[in-house]
């Protein structure tokens, strides 16, 4: 069950996202994460989605996506050179004796503290899924209250 990061260009119209999501639920494919936003061309959106499946399933997923009338292009980035990033907002307890350690961790992971309250810090980090997992494992023992993640976005690398 390999992870596949698939990037789609779709018509930016109401209902398109539900066509894509409906295809996954209707055919029993799974979605690990999904991220959508407009591209430079306002009539086109990019959806980045991460799914898991063997080669046959991944092939079916790509073909089925291609078959949707509103899908303009399907790229399976897996197995190609690409950059992938995800952002997380992590709200962590900021007890007095942990604060320095939190700030150090944020620093190491090149994150930012974006909100501060007497009891909590909200930390913003960006990176690959591995990097986010790593900082989470550091912060978790200090008491993570809430987390919000964007899911992965990705683009193929240009040839050097």
């Amino acid at each position: 069950m390999q992870k596949h990061t698939i990037s789609l260009l779709v018509d930016n119209e109401p209902g398109v996202l539900s066509r894509v999501v409906g295809l996954f639920s209707g055919r029993g494919f799974n979605i690990e994460s999904l991220c959508v936003a407009e591209t430079l061309d306002p009539s086109v959106s990019r959806i980045t989605l991460v799914t898991r499946g063997d080669d046959v399933i991944a092939e079916q997923i790509k073909k089925q996506l291609n078959k949707l009338i509103n899908v303009i292009k399907v790229y399976d980035l897996t197995g190609t050179e690409y950059v992938e990033r995800e952002m997380a907002l992590i709200k962590v307890q900021a007890k007095a004796d942990y604060r320095a350690e939190i700030l150090r961790a944020v620093d190491i992971f090149r994150g930012n503290v974006v909100d501060v309250s007497p009891t909590h810090y909200t930390v913003e980090v960006t990176g690959t899924a591995d990097k986010l997992a790593a900082i989470l494992s550091l912060l978790r023992p200090m008491g993570v209250k809430e987390i919000a993640r964007t899911g992965a976005i990705a683009l193929g690398r240009e040839k050097k």
Partner: protein
């Protein structure tokens, strides 16, 4: 309306309601014929039957809410069988959408997974373009149903119609032309094959490739089988014909697939009713698969040579290559293969014994003889459908109209009405079960009103026969919820609708009742009381290989 005319629409099957009065009002002022059905499911199936018999897009117009939801089975059936249908539904005014207005349903949401595409039109100015696109999508590529939802204010608004060019859609480009390298590779396999089988499907009928298929099979001197949807794509009376494969396929077709060294699937999708367990399907064969829909290829069965493209163009290409490379198949080299097939055929033919009680197979055989194989046959679902497929032989495409993929009971009568509208000069017969016919029997009124002389042949076993058959074979004859002992008197019912009603209870009456019914000028319903516990054989039990058939 201008777009509809431009798209060649001459008939609409529909049922009105408040929000579509404007459309009907406009329709009434054109020369497009409107056929008023008695249930919107009937309208959708009729449009499907029309599309198949005529080979063009069928159109259906219904109101919002319940009118729209009633078409869902029809859409799902057309979707599974890739039939070009455009369904127009009324919708509450745009300002009310989302407010749970009276008779509001999100029909675009409901039908997303059972249409090829669907639209909600929000502005009158978009109407013409969307309708053009809807017809284009429905008929091109792998055809399928398209739904267009029309809010009342959009259809009340006025817009000047400027003729539009054929739609160009950047995200929709079906592949028609197959890759020539793949065709060449296919030819290489074909040259090597000793025991080839050609397996044709609905795609051959949809792309009107029967002639090319027949030429191809004859050139190869290869036996041909066809899925339920493909019946008629190759002449059923040809010596190369094997019969249908799969769950209720012929012994020789299933055995031939089991033993072949090359299977050439054309416009098929290797449905589970055809393949049985996929691991043991065509275990010795390399597989060439031609289909216009890439998702059909290697979905269920891994193939050796995938060819994405239109069946007709691909077959033409293959025939041309065979000619160019002067591939000559020596008929003698196939002798062993055909001897083997003949042996399968003679040891295990399709068979039944006609005794004191009418056998359903006998009725179909007589129907075939009396109509000289020239009728358009529609079917309901269940045993009746399988017997029609087995015992009526189809020599021409677009003559067997059945709900194959969805298996939707209640399909046959409205589909027959649609086919009759499309082909007024042809004899159209719905082969029915006593269960299914009751799901849309009200359409008899439609047939009578529009003087559509469709004939209904009911194989009346007073059971939901196909389910009963499973109960007999796999549930120790516990006939739970399948006994229809208390049926109506169909002959009287037909008369009540204003049609001819006939009934036969003895084998000697079969031919005369058929003759009387078929020769009557208007719609007729013939009720044949058949052996109650007759089963369809051969049968491949669920989870078995297709070569492991129950034979009687």
């Amino acid at each position: 309306m201008a777009v509809l005319k431009e798209e060649g629409v001459d008939t609409i099957f529909g049922f009105p309601g408040g929000v579509v009065i404007d459309i009907f009002d406009e329709l009434g002022r054109t020369d497009i014929q409107h056929v008023l059905v008695r249930h919107e499911q009937g309208a959708a199936h009729a449009a499907d039957g029309y599309a198949r018999a005529k080979g063009s897009v069928g159109v259906c117009l219904v109101t919002t809410g319940p009118g729209a939801t009633n078409t869902v089975s029809g859409l799902a059936s057309a979707y599974m069988d890739s039939i070009p249908v455009v369904v127009l539904t009324g919708q509450v005014p745009t300002a009310l959408i989302g407010n749970d207005a009276f008779q509001e349903v999100d029909i675009v949401g409901i039908t997303r997974p059972c249409t090829k595409h669907n639209y909600l039109v929000k502005r009158t100015d978009d109407l013409a373009r969307v309708l053009k696109e809807a017809f284009h999508i429905a008929r091109s590529g792998r055809p399928g149903p398209v739904l267009v939802d029309l809010p009342k204010d959009v259809t009340q608004g006025k817009a000047r119609y400027k003729p539009l060019p054929e739609p160009r859609m950047p995200s929709y480009n079906p592949t028609y032309n197959p890759n020539i390298k793949q065709l060449r590779r296919a030819i290489d396999l074909i040259k090597e094959a000793e025991r080839p089988v050609v397996f044709s499907g609905g795609g051959v009928i949809l792309s009107e490739a029967s002639k090319e298929l027949t030429e191809f099979a004859r050139k190869l001197h290869a036996p041909v089988t066809a899925s339920l949807m493909g019946l008629g794509s190759f002449p059923g009376s040809d010596p190369l014909w094997l019969g249908m494969p799969g769950m209720h396929g012929t012994y020789r077709a299933n055995m031939a697939i089991g033993a072949c060294d090359l299977l050439i699937g054309i416009g098929v999708r290797f449905d589970d009713r055809v393949t049985g367990t996929v691991e043991t399907f065509a275990p010795n064969a390399k597989i060439i698969h031609i289909d216009i829909d890439p998702t059909s290829i290697s979905k269920n069965i891994p193939v050796t040579i995938p060819i994405v493209g239109d069946c007709k163009i691909a077959l033409k290409g293959l025939n041309r290559l065979l000619r160019e490379e002067s591939v000559k198949i020596d008929k003698k080299s196939r002798k062993l293969w055909f001897d083997q097939i003949e042996k399968w055929k003679s040891t295990q033919p399709l068979r039944y014994e006609q005794g004191d009680v009418i056998k359903p197979q006998y009725v179909i055989e007589k129907l075939y003889e009396l109509t000289k194989g020239k009728a358009i046959i529609t079917t309901e679902v269940g045993q009746n459908q399988m017997w029609a497929a087995q015992y009526y032989h189809f020599d021409r495409p677009n003559c067997f109209i059945t709900s194959g993929g969805l298996g939707c009971m209640g399909f046959g009568l409205p589909a027959a009405i649609g086919a009759q509208v499309a082909c007024p000069d042809k004899l159209v017969v719905d082969v029915a079960g006593d269960g299914s016919i009751q799901m849309n029997i009200q359409e008899l009124a439609t047939a009578v009103q529009y003087r559509l002389p469709v004939k209904v042949v009911i194989l009346n076993n007073r059971y939901l026969g196909m389910v009963r058959q499973w109960q007999e074979l796999f549930y120790e004859k516990r006939y739970t919820a399948t006994d229809l002992e208390q049926g109506p008197d169909f002959a009287k019912l037909a008369e009540a609708y204003g049609a001819v009603g006939l009934k036969a209870t003895k084998p000697q009456e079969v031919v005369s009742v058929l003759k009387q019914g078929l020769e009557s000028p208007g719609p007729a319903m013939m009720d044949f009381w058949v052996a109650r516990e007759e089963c369809v054989y051969p049968m491949v039990p669920a989870g078995a290989s297709i070569t492991e058939m129950l034979l009687a």
